[in-house]
């Protein structure tokens, strides 16, 4: 195994210079994207540098409450981000997204840290933070897609849902199809990713481990673990947020509260 090559800031700057290619394309084709490109490039550098500094500190301090605090901030940001791009919203959607994201990702992260990787102590930041981060990133997508699809399906099938209720259907019977569609939509990206992993692209974490000098077989083992953690976290998060939303939008009297659903 060749030794790991540390990058100087000059080397990082050289890579950043490649963004000029994007700029040139934008100018040549008059895409009018230069300003946005500049902002995006700045965000990339600033956000990553900041998180690098924060992580340096968290790794150095190495205290359970600091790691827990960091994990909480990551989870809250993910839970809120999951509701940012849905076409429909309802009162209480954000808290349900937060609850689903929190519950599912922490359960899976606990299994990963405590039972699978067996990190001792459990809060070792080198493991706890990246593992949770990868679970959260995917759970967020599942929660977001599930919420979006559930709202879309219920809005599009409003009349059918109501017709079923009028014929004696329970709230579950009336909502079953939209709920199933929503859960399916949330799970598909993960399943697709699992099918092509390693063939179409090498996952980021595995690439990172390879660059850091880990043997490919070791890196693959970790990647397999991660794929399954991500798949289960996404599944739990999507099902939770869809069921929590269903319970909010259908009351105990088997009525569909469609007026709560806002575009």
């Amino acid at each position: 195994m060749k030794p790991y090559i540390e990058l100087s800031y000059a080397q990082v700057a050289m890579a950043a210079g490649l963004v000029l290619i994007n700029g040139a394309i934008s100018v040549m084709l008059r895409l009018d994207l230069e300003r946005r490109l500049l902002i995006a490039a700045t965000c990339t550098v600033v956000q990553l540098l900041l998180i690098g500094l924060v992580l340096e500190w968290v790794f150095r301090v190495d205290r359970w409450y600091v790691v827990l605090g960091m994990m909480t901030v990551m989870t809250v940001v993910a839970g809120i981000a999951a509701t940012q791009r849905t076409r429909f919203r309802y009162p209480g959607m954000r808290s349900r997204s937060l609850l689903a994201t929190w519950g599912s990702s922490w359960v899976v992260a606990a299994i990963a840290l405590g039972a699978i990787v067996r990190v001792r102590p459990w809060y070792t930041p080198q493991y706890a933070i990246p593992l949770l981060g990868m679970i959260l990133g995917n759970t967020l997508n599942g929660v977001s897609l599930g919420l979006d699809r559930l709202g879309g399906e219920l809005a599009a099938r409003r009349d059918r849902v109501e017709a079923l209720l009028a014929l004696g259907a329970s709230r579950w019977e009336a909502a079953r199809e939209p709920v199933r569609e929503a859960v399916k939509t949330g799970l598909i990206p993960t399943i697709n990713a699992m099918m092509v992993v390693g063939i179409v692209s090498l996952p980021g974490m595995m690439t990172g481990q390879l660059l850091a000098g880990t043997s490919p077989v070791e890196a693959v083992k970790y990647q397999v673990v991660i794929m399954f953690l991500v798949a289960s976290g996404t599944a739990l998060g999507t099902v939770s947020v869809v069921l929590l939303s269903y319970r909010r939008l259908f009351n105990d009297d088997h009525q569909f509260l469609d007026s709560l659903l806002d575009r």
């Binding site: 079923l164 009028a166 014929l167 004696g168 009525q255």
Partner: protein, 230 residues
């Protein structure tokens, strides 16, 4: 059931959920339906006729009052069982994907109708009365006109043997011939078991209301105007 009221709605009030505290759509409305009743709900557009009918069907939450079925308040898990007996028929009934026959079979997959089966001969007989022949069952629901959808909605409800039909302008999209057929069918349906069945009919058409109902409730601006008995 012959003695007491089938449905008793007491002091029904519903607010517009988007307007909040003062946005009452209907308020203080009482409605009693006895077996054998042919009750008309009349009033100008926006008076709250559909709101009342939907509330009585327990399809929408109410903010005041209560609804009783055979003396018991309709709540919680009793609601689907109630809706099996008291079916609300929308002006434009929503149909599922698939053929007319599949639409008519669908309700039998619901728990509330467990143990009962789709009766093709009976459905064909009802459709025949409505001027539709057996080939109609194979039509795709997507290809139906508004009037045909309304007929399918009606047959889908009738085949379930409800006790009470809450009809929200059930002939709004029909031509005069089909309207007459529907009126005749519903009149016979009620006359068949007057000690068990009842109709509540929302209509804009005063002549139809006179033909199809014996007792009428007038709504104005979300409240009941004095009842007119004929």
């Amino acid at each position: 059931m012959a003695n007491g009221p089938a449905i008793e709605a007491v002091g029904i009030g519903r607010r517009d959920p988007r307007r909040g505290a003062d946005g009452w759509l209907i308020r203080g409305v009482d409605l009693v339906v006895h077996p054998g009743d042919r009750l008309g709900v009349l009033g100008p557009s926006g008076a709250g006729k559909s709101v009342l009918l939907r509330a009585v069907a327990r399809l929408d939450p109410i903010d005041e009052g209560s609804i009783h079925w055979q003396g018991r308040e309709v709540l919680g898990d009793g609601v689907p069982a109630y809706r099996r007996q008291v079916i609300y028929l929308h002006q434009r009934p929503a149909l599922m994907e698939g053929t007319v026959e599949e639409n008519l079979q669908y309700p039998f997959t619901l728990r509330a109708h467990r143990g009962r089966t789709f009766d093709l001969a009976r459905v064909e007989a009802i459709l025949h009365r409505l001027g539709r022949e057996a080939g109609f069952l194979a039509k795709n629901a997507r290809d139906l006109s508004g009037g045909e959808s309304q007929l399918v909605g009606l047959v889908r409800a009738l085949q379930l043997d409800p006790r009470v039909l809450l009809l929200d302008e059930p002939t709004a999209s029909l031509d005069p011939v089909a309207t007459e057929a529907v009126e005749g069918l519903l009149g016979d349906w009620l006359a068949d078991r007057p000690d068990e069945r009842a109709l509540v009919w929302v209509s804009h058409d005063a002549d139809q209301a006179r033909r199809m109902t014996d007792r009428r409730v007038f709504l104005r601006a979300g409240g009941v105007a004095p009842e007119e008995n004929v």
